[in-house]
C-alpha cells in the first residue's frame, strides 16, 4: 500500500471515529458548546453512535474502512487494488444508501431504511465527519483503480478525477435532478405525470393572449421575445462598435475598452435601477419633459421596453467584446487579396468580410439571447406586469402562492431554452468558425469601412454610448442627492444610513449595509480560491490527461455553463433544504453556490491558460521522472499564474454581483449585498440602493485595477500575460455572465 493510500485511510478513520458525523449548528473553533453532545449525543462521531446502537446503519461504512486497514502492510499490489476498489465502492454505496434512505421522519426510502436497520428512524444532515469519510472512501476507490493501471497508474490523477465527478454530481446534477423530480410529483409528494403535464401546458406559460385577445401572453413567449430582441440589438450594437473602432480612425478606443469592463463589475439590476431614476414616473427625464414640454408622465418603462432597454445596455458591451475579437481575427490580407483582384470596398465587405463575420455574429446573438433569458435583476426591477420565466420562478418560490411544483416546471422550461441555445451554439457553430489568425505575421492593413456602413454605425453607437455614460453618472450622483428626479439637494444621508461608522466607542459599524457587505466580501473571498482551484484542476484534467469518460466530464462542465442562476438557486433550495445535505440558511450554501456557479469561469481561464503552455513541458517533466502532481505543482502552476489570477478576480467579482442564484439562498444571518439592494429597491428606498451599488462598483473597480497592476508587474520575458479584458471576456459564454 502506498504511503498516500495509508494517509487517505487515516483521514477516513479521523472522519469516521473522531469527527462529529452530523452537521452541528453553532459549531466553531471558538464556541465549544457542542462538546457537551460529544461523542454520544448530537455531535457524536459515527463510530461512537454506531457502536452505542443509536445509528446501526453507519456500521457498514466503518467495516469498509476496517477491511482496507487489514491490508495496511500488504505488498501484493493486485490484491490490495481489489480490496480498495471493492471497499471504496461498496462503502460509498452504503454511505449514500443510508444517507438517502434515512432522512426526516416518514420521508426517505422506507424499505431501504428497514433493510439497513433504521426503520422509522430519522437523522440530520451530514456534517464534517461524514464528508471526510466519504472523501476518504472515494480516494481509496480511486487509488485502487490507479493500482490497476488506470491513468498510467497515477494516484493523483485518478483521485482528482474522482473528486471532480463527485462534486459535480452532488452540487450540479443532484440539485437539477431534484428539480425534475419536484416537477413530476403533486402537492402531496406522490408521483403524478398528469400534474406535470397540466402545469407544463398551463396557459400562463404558453398562452397566446396577447395575439388573440387583449390579455397577457404566456411567460415563455414573453421570455423568448425579450431574448430574441435582446440578442439582435446587442449584436448589432456590438458589431457596429467593433467595426467602427477597428476599421475607421474613430477616436475613443480606450473609452470603449473601459466600457466593456463595466458590465463585469455592475450588479445586473443596477442599470434597471438607474433607468427608473431617469425615465420612471418620477424620473429625472420624465420630470423635465413634463415640466418643460407638458409630456405626461407615464409608466412606459415598466414592461417589455424598459426591461429590453436595461438588458441591451447591460449586455451590449459583452457582444462588443466578442465581436471585436472576431473582427480582429479577420486577416487583413484576405481583404487585400480581394481588392487586388479588382473588388470594390463594398464588394469586398459583402463577399469576404461579411461571410467571415457570420459565425461570430451568430455566437454573439446566442450570447445575448442566453444572457437575457437568465437575467433576473432587470425584469424584477422593471418588469411590472411583464413576467418572464426567471422572475416567475422567483415568485413561485418566495411569493405568497408558494408552489414548488410550478417553480420546478418553470425552471425546466427555462433550462430547456438555455440548453437549446447552448446546444445550437455547440453543434452548429462549433465547426463553423473560421480562424483566420495564423501563427504567421500578417503585414496587411485592414480595409477601411465603406462609408455608408460607417455612418450607420455612428448613428447607432453615439446614442448608446451617451446613454451608458448618463446611466453611470446617475448611478454615481444618485447616491448623493436627496431624491433623484424630485429633490436634488446634495446629501450624504444615503451613505450615512448604509455605511456610517461610529467611532465614539471603538469602531462600530453602525450603517445598515455593513453586515451584508462584510458577508458578501467574506463569502466571495472564500469561494473565489475554491472556484479557481476546482476550475483549474478540471481544466488540467480535460486538457492534459486522457481517461475514459473525459468527453463526458467535459460535457458535464460545459452543461453547467448553460444553467441559469435562477434555476440553480431553486435547485439548491429544493435539494439542500432537507437531509442528507441540509445546509440552507448557512453561509456554506452561499459559498457552494458561488463555487459551482462560477466554476465554468475557472475552467475556461484554465483551459485558455493551459493551451498557451506547450504540452512538451509536461512531457519533459514526466520523462525526468516527475509524477503528475509534481509536474502540476512545479511546472504547470507557476506558468499558469496569470490564468489563476484572472480566475480568482473574476470569480470574486461575479460572486459580489450575483443575484439570481443567491436571492433564494440568503438568510437573515447571511445576507448578501445584492439581495439587500434588491430589498431596498422593493421598499422604494432608491437612494440607499443606488448609493450601495456605487460603493460596490467602485470597490470592485479598485480591486480589479489593483490586481491588474500586480499582475502586470510580474517579470519573465517570454511568457505572455493575459490582459484582464480578454481573459475576462473568455468566460463570457452562455449563461455565465448572467447572474
Amino acid at each position: 500500500m502506498a504511503p498516500a493510500t495509508r494517509f487517505v485511510l487515516l483521514i477516513g478513520w479521523l472522519g469516521y471515529a473522531l469527527m462529529p458525523w452530523y452537521l452541528v449548528e453553532g459549531m466553531g473553533l471558538t464556541r465549544w458548546g457542542w462538546l457537551a453532545e460529544y461523542p454520544f449525543g448530537k455531535a457524536g462521531s459515527a463510530l461512537a453512535l454506531a457502536l452505542s446502537g443509536q445509528t446501526p446503519w453507519l456500521l457498514p461504512v466503518g467495516i469498509a474502512l476496517a477491511a482496507v486497514t487489514l491490508f495496511w502492510g500488504s505488498q501484493d499490489r493486485q490484491r490490495t487494488a481489489a480490496v480498495l476498489i471493492w471497499a471504496g465502492a461498496l462503502g460509498m454505496l452504503l454511505f449514500f444508501a443510508q444517507a438517502f434512505a434515512i432522512v426526516l421522519k416518514d420521508q426517505g426510502i422506507a424499505w431501504l431504511a428497514a433493510l439497513l436497520g433504521g426503520a422509522g428512524a430519522a437523522q440530520r444532515g451530514i456534517g464534517g465527519g461524514a464528508f471526510v469519510t466519504l472523501l476518504s472512501l472515494l480516494f481509496l476507490l480511486c487509488h485502487g483503480l490507479a493500482y490497476r493501471g488506470i491513468c498510467r497508474g497515477d494516484l493523483f490523477t485518478t483521485s482528482t478525477i474522482g473528486l471532480i465527478i463527485l462534486l459535480i454530481g452532488i452540487f450540479i446534477f443532484f440539485p437539477v435532478a431534484i428539480i425534475l423530480k419536484s416537477a413530476l410529483v403533486d402537492q402531496n409528494g406522490a408521483f403524478a405525470l398528469s400534474a406535470f403535464v397540466e402545469r407544463f401546458l398551463d396557459s400562463s406559460i404558453w398562452g397566446l393572449g396577447c395575439v388573440t385577445s387583449n390579455t397577457n401572453c404566456g411567460v415563455a413567449w414573453n421570455t423568448l421575445i425579450l431574448a430574441v430582441l435582446c440578442g439582435v440589438i446587442t449584436t448589432l450594437l456590438g458589431l457596429a462598435c467593433a467595426l467602427l473602432i477597428l476599421r475607421t480612425g474613430m477616436p475613443g478606443k480606450r473609452i470603449m475598452r473601459a466600457l466593456t469592463v463595466l458590465p463585469i463589475i455592475t450588479p445586473p439590476f443596477v442599470i434597471g435601477l438607474a433607468l427608473i431614476l431617469l425615465f420612471g414616473r418620477a424620473g429625472a427625464v420624465s420630470t423635465l419633459l413634463y415640466e418643460w414640454f407638458d409630456v405626461p408622465r407615464s409608466r412606459w418603462l415598466y414592461g417589455l421596453p424598459g426591461v429590453l432597454l436595461a438588458q441591451v445596455l447591460a449586455f451590449a458591451p459583452i457582444a462588443f467584446l466578442v465581436l471585436i475579437g472576431v473582427v480582429q481575427g479577420i486577416s487583413p490580407s484576405l481583404e487585400e487579396a480581394s481588392q487586388t483582384l479588382g473588388a470594390k470596398r463594398w464588394q469586398t465587405f459583402r463577399t469576404v468580410t461579411w461571410p467571415l463575420l457570420k459565425p461570430g455574429i451568430a455566437n454573439s446573438f446566442l450570447l445575448g439571447f442566453v444572457e437575457s433569458m437568465a437575467d433576473f435583476g432587470n425584469p424584477l426591477v422593471l418588469g411590472g406586469n411583464f413576467e418572464v420565466l426567471s422572475t416567475k420562478i422567483f415568485f413561485a418560490v418566495v411569493g405568497a402562492s408558494y408552489n414548488q411544483g410550478q417553480a420546478a416546471v418553470l425552471a425546466i422550461v427555462l433550462l430547456a431554452f438555455t440548453l437549446g441555445a447552448f446546444w445550437v451554439q455547440q453543434r452548429w457553430l462549433g465547426d463553423k468558425s473560421y480562424t483566420t489568425v495564423t501563427g504567421k505575421g500578417d503585414s496587411g492593413l485592414p480595409t477601411p469601412l465603406p462609408r455608408r456602413i460607417s455612418w450607420l454605425s455612428v448613428a447607432v453607437i453615439v446614442p448608446w454610448v451617451a446613454l451608458t455614460v448618463v446611466i453611470y453618472i446617475v448611478i454615481l450622483v444618485g447616491g448623493f442627492v436627496r431624491n433623484m428626479g424630485r429633490d436634488y439637494t446634495p446629501t450624504l444621508q444615503h451613505y450615512l444610513t448604509g455605511f456610517a461608522i461610529d467611532f465614539s466607542d471603538g469602531i462600530y459599524f453602525q450603517g445598515s449595509a455593513w453586515s451584508s457587505f462584510f458577508t458578501t466580501v467574506k463569502v466571495a473571498a472564500i469561494s473565489a480560491p475554491l472556484t479557481a482551484l476546482i476550475g483549474l484542476l478540471t481544466a488540467y484534467l480535460l486538457t492534459r490527461q486522457r481517461f475514459r469518460g473525459r468527453s463526458t466530464l467535459e460535457f458535464a462542465t460545459m452543461l453547467s455553463f448553460a444553467i441559469p442562476g435562477t434555476v440553480l438557486g431553486v435547485a439548491y433550495i429544493l435539494a439542500f433544504n432537507v437531509p442528507p445535505v441540509e445546509i440552507t440558511g448557512t453561509g456554506l450554501i452561499l459559498v457552494i453556490a458561488f463555487v459551482f456557479r462560477n466554476m465554468p469561469v475557472g475552467v475556461r481561464s484554465g483551459i485558455a491558460g493551459l493551451s498557451q503552455i506547450d504540452k512538451s513541458l509536461d512531457e519533459a517533466s514526466t520523462t525526468l521522472r516527475a509524477r503528475s502532481f509534481t509536474t502540476l505543482w512545479r511546472v504547470v502552476l507557476p506558468l499558469l499564474k496569470p490564468a489563476l489570477v484572472s480566475a480568482l478576480v473574476y470569480s470574486f467579482v461575479r460572486s459580489m454581483t450575483a443575484v439570481s442564484a443567491v436571492i433564494f439562498l440568503v438568510s437573515a444571518e447571511y445576507n448578501l449585498s445584492t439581495a439587500y439592494i434588491v430589498g431596498r429597491v422593493e421598499a422604494g428606498e432608491f437612494g440607499l440602493a443606488i448609493a450601495y451599488s456605487s460603493v460596490l462598483i467602485v470597490f470592485m473597480a479598485l480591486g480589479i485595477a489593483l490586481i491588474q497592476l500586480g499582475v502586470g508587474e510580474r517579470k519573465l520575458g517570454r511568457r505572455k500575460l493575459i490582459p484582464l479584458s480578454s481573459s475576462a471576456a473568455e468566460p463570457l459564454k452562455p449563461g455565465v455572465a448572467a447572474s
Binding site: 498510467r152 512538451s616 512531457e619 519533459a620 520523462t623 525526468l624 521522472r625 511546472v635 520575458g717 517570454r718
Partner: protein, 354 residues
C-alpha cells in the same frame, strides 16, 4: 551507481488512435551504446515510435523491452529514459541550473547533490557560467545544450532525441550534430534519434531505421542504405536517385544483364530473376561524354545549373529525364546539346519493380 546503457527492443509493436494506425507491427532492436536513427518523412510514425520508447505513449499492441526488461505498460516516470524535445521544452520560469537540476530534484535527491549533478552536466555541454540565466536569455543553440544537459543529468539508460536540430540554422546544425555524436560515444550512451533529414541521419548514426507509412522500410548501416537500398522509397529518400523501369534480360552467377533503354549494363542481381525491374541510379553515377559513344544512352541537355562546386544537369533520354550531377569545375553545357550518358561502376542498383 547507474546501470549503464541498455538495449531497446520492439516486438511487433503497433499504435492505433481510433481507426488511424500510426505504427504498424514494428520490430527492431537498438543495441546498448549505439546511436540509431529513426528516419522518414513526416507522418511516417517515427516520432510516435520514439514517444513509445519514452513511455509518453502506451503501445496498443506488442512488447517493448529496455535492457531486457518489459516496460510496455510502464509510465514515462517509471522508465529510465530521458528525452530531448524538438522544442527543447525548457521550463521558462526556471533558470538554466534549475532546469538541469529538475530531474534529481523531483527524484528527491538533496538540493546540494542535485546542484552538483546539474553543474557537472552543464560543464559537459559547455555551458559553464550560464547557470543563472533564464531560457529566454539564451540563443537557440544554447537552449539546445541545456535541454541535452537536463536529459543527461539522471544518466538514463536510453537517451532520446526528437528532431533536436530542426530549430537551428544550417551551419550550427552541422556542429551540434557532431557534438551530439561525440557526446554519445564518449559517454557510451544508447541513443534513439528521430530526424527527417537524411544527411543528418547518415552523418551521426551507427544504424538507421527508415520508416514509411507506419512501417519499417529498411534498416541498416548508413552505407548499406545508400548503396543497397531495398526499395524505391529508400533509394529515393536517402540521397537522390533516378528511378527507371528496366528489364532484366538474363541472370547468371549472381549478376544480371539489365537493359536500360538501348544500353545494357551488368549489375549485381540481388536475388531478382528475369523480367521487369527498376534501377536506382545516383546522379553522380551518370557520366556524360561526347555524343555517339558506343554502349551509352544518347541524350540531349535540357537544363544546366551552376551550384558552385558542382553542376545540376537534366538530360532528356529515351528512358525519360535523368538528373545528373557533375563535380569539379566544368563549363556550363549548352541547352539542346547532344551527349552520351554512360554508367559508373557503382551507384547503379537493381531494385524490385514495386
Amino acid at each position: 551507481m547507474k546501470a549503464g546503457p541498455a538495449s531497446v527492443e520492439f516486438r511487433n509493436v503497433s499504435m492505433r488512435y481510433g481507426a488511424v494506425t500510426a505504427v504498424d507491427d514494428v520490430s527492431f532492436t537498438i543495441e546498448a551504446g549505439k546511436l540509431v536513427t529513426l528516419l522518414g518523412p513526416s507522418g511516417c510514425g517515427k516520432t510516435t515510435t520514439l514517444r513509445m520508447i519514452a513511455g509518453l505513449e502506451i503501445a496498443s499492441e506488442g512488447q517493448i523491452l529496455i535492457g531486457g526488461k518489459d516496460v510496455t505498460k510502464l509510465s514515462a516516470a517509471d522508465r529510465d529514459v530521458s528525452m530531448v524535445f524538438q522544442s527543447y521544452a525548457l521550463f521558462p520560469h526556471m533558470s538554466v541550473l534549475e532546469n538541469a537540476a529538475y530531474g534529481p530534484t523531483v527524484k528527491g535527491l538533496g538540493k546540494e547533490q542535485a546542484k552538483q549533478m546539474a553543474l557537472e552536466k552543464l560543464a559537459l555541454v559547455g555551458l559553464k557560467g550560464f547557470e543563472s540565466r533564464y531560457p529566454s536569455e539564451l540563443s537557440g543553440g544554447q537552449q539546445q545544450r541545456v535541454a541535452v544537459a537536463r536529459a543527461l543529468v539522471l544518466e538514463p539508460q536510453v537517451l532520446l532525441f526528437d528532431e533536436p536540430l530542426s530549430n537551428l540554422d544550417a551551419k550550427l546544425r552541422r556542429r551540434v550534430r557532431e557534438e551530439i555524436r561525440e557526446l554519445q560515444q564518449d559517454l557510451n550512451l544508447t541513443v534513439a534519434y528521430v530526424t527527417h533529414d537524411q544527411e543528418e541521419a547518415l552523418a551521426v548514426s551507427d544504424r538507421i531505421i527508415v520508416m514509411s507509412n507506419a512501417r519499417i522500410a529498411q534498416e541498416g548501416a548508413p552505407r548499406d542504405l545508400y548503396e543497397q537500398p531495398a526499395n524505391a522509397f529508400v533509394a529515393d529518400f536517402i540521397g537522390d536517385a533516378n528511378l527507371i523501369d528496366v528489364t532484366v534480360k538474363a541472370v547468371a552467377d549472381g549478376r544480371a544483364d539489365v537493359g536500360i533503354g538501348s544500353a545494357t549494363v551488368s549489375l549485381p542481381a540481388r536475388g531478382l530473376g528475369t523480367g521487369p525491374a527498376k534501377v536506382a541510379i545516383r546522379p553522380e553515377a551518370l557520366l556524360l561524354g561526347a555524343a555517339g559513344q558506343a554502349g551509352a544512352l544518347p541524350g540531349t541537355i535540357r537544363k544546366c545549373a551552376y551550384l558552385g562546386n558542382h553542376l545540376d544537369i537534366m538530360v532528356e533520354t529515351e528512358v525519360g529525364e535523368l538528373f545528373v550531377v557533375q563535380y569539379g569545375v566544368r563549363d556550363l553545357l549548352e541547352q539542346g546539346a547532344p551527349v552520351a550518358v554512360s554508367f559508373a561502376k557503382s551507384g547503379v542498383t537493381l531494385i524490385p519493380p514495386l
